[in-house]
């Protein structure tokens, strides 16, 4: 084989390689000119097929989802009306603190101190928690309970500590209240916008 190659080259130079080189060069040229278009088409076809598949599976479950949607809508409307609405839970917890301060002040509680509990979870819906410490007289407690029941924003106390304070001035009994208030943060549902699909890619 080696000997034959040496002799072929000696007698014919590189002429025997012309045909193979031409063949290989032609193949490479054709591949180079067409491969990009071919690969683009293949990728696009796969992408479109996948998008259609996602579409089909979405349609498959859309009826059940619509039923659930109708079922949840009335309750959601009630919840949304009394929840703290914002795109960010941190904003909601600040809003809840402001709201709570206003409520306690309107009921004449004194020495109001508020602290939020840890970072609020930033999801579609999250429970907000604020610890409050304030002083007042025992008669103010039923008014607080009544005010919470009809308040514009829904808040609930799930932890309560009441201590009677010794009153040096000789007035009526005074109490110190530590309470944890819970509220609901919701990210508002965005209005429906249908985006048009481009005619071609």
């Amino acid at each position: 084989m080696k000997r034959d190659l040496v002799r072929a080259f000696r007698h014919h130079g590189i002429r025997p390689l012309v045909i193979p080189v031409l063949v290989v060069a032609s193949i490479l040229l054709v591949v180079a000119q067409n491969i990009d278009g071919y690969l683009t088409h293949q990728e696009e076809a796969t992408d479109l097929a996948l998008r259609l598949e996602v579409m089909e599976s979405t349609f498959q479950f859309s009826k059940i989802i619509e039923e659930k949607n109708e079922l949840l809508k009335p309750e959601y409307s009630q919840i949304q009306a009394r929840a703290f609405l914002s795109g960010n839970a941190e904003i909601s917890v600040d809003s809840m603190q402001n709201h709570l301060t206003g409520l306690l002040q309107s009921l004449y509680f004194e020495n109001i101190q508020l602290a939020k509990l840890g970072p609020a979870q930033n999801r579609n819906a999250a429970v907000l928690a604020v610890d409050a410490k304030f002083t007042g007289v025992p008669q103010q407690l039923p008014r607080l309970e009544a005010a919470l029941a009809v308040n514009q924003k829904a808040m609930r106390v799930n932890r309560l500590q009441i201590k009677a304070l010794k009153d040096a001035s000789g007035g009526g009994p005074r109490i110190e209240i530590n309470a944890r208030f819970l509220g609901l943060h919701l990210v508002p549902v965005e209005p429906k916008i249908v985006k048009p699909v481009p005619a071609s890619r």
């Binding site: 607080l144 609901l184 249908v194």
Partner: protein, 410 residues
Amino acid sequence: MHWVCLRSVEIPLSEITQDFSEIQIQLQQLTASWRIPNGAPVSWVLPSDIVGAFNFCKQNDIATDISSFSPFNLNDLRVSELIKNSAMYQTIYWTHKDWSNEIARISEQLNWTCVEFFSRAQLFIKIFPKQESEYSLLLEGHGLDVSLHIYAFSGSILRTTKVSANHAPDLAAFVKKEVKSLPLKMTNDFQLFVLNVDPELVQSLQRDFKVEQLPLNSSIALMSRLLLSSEEGIELSPTYGSLLSRVNAFSLAIAIAASAMFSIAVWYDGVLQSDIDLNRRQLRKETARFQTAKYVRAETIKMADAVRAKQSIVVEPSSFKLLAEVLPALTVPASLSYFDQNGRTLKIAGIQGESEAVKSSMEKNPIFLDVHITVAPEELKADKQVFSLEFLWRDVDREIHEATVPKAMK
């Protein structure tokens, strides 16, 4: 491509003779028993008294004819190919036409294609151990025959000759004479190797030269190496034509295969494009419906999250409700000074009440469990009739919620 030796045999001839008829008979039998196909290409490796060699450079020996290196007229010789326009020394192999015709005749009668003659000296090219010497001399014994092969450092053969019986007793003198007779300017910088030479002859050489025994290689290995190498002998029938045909056939096959693949790719590309058009139309048609479905899905998830979050608040204890449950259990004049609700645990303390009386009053309410008396808080210890209790409460709301709300809604 990997070549393997399928069969080999060593045939001792009855006597040294120039008559090839015995060889022909032996080969005839082998051709039949080994079933060597007609026209099989065969190369012959021949001893130095049949194929000679000399070193030649066209430019340096411009005035010298090749025939001057041999005792015969050039027309009576078959000579290996001379590479024209080469400034390098090359080894030229030659044989007398009587030999070549005889071997060609035998090959023809055996239905072989005689393609090439090699010199036996070519078997040993480049098998010498690494050395500093400019030349290597090999005395090779084969039965009663001894041949001398002289190689340049590059591996090319300078001379190959058979040691006649007359010279055998004074082999050292023969070697010196051969070295001196070389046309090239030869120095004494050479290494002498021996292979298969009678030990007595080797001893006689050792008086004049430093002799090194060449490691013994099998003749099959030597033959295979020569056949697979690019080493050229005297070419009788060119074989590279079939190589060129194979290259062209291979190129054609690749071109056909590539064309077929390209055609398939073009067809498949057309299929892909029609799929793309169809799917695009389908996507455009369904986009509005899909986006609505996506919106409804996202909205439903948000609503479900909201309901779940609200439920998690609702099931928490209502502290004011528990306070309202505790207060009726206190009888006049007892008053509550401390109330602490943390999860399901309640602690109360007050004055003007008996612990036992308050405890038994608490136990009447079924939502309070495990009521027990505890140590009063520090700030009340100074007061009289202090009571202090700790107990659990039953989360009735949660129990009702868990009993009534289906699992799917949780």
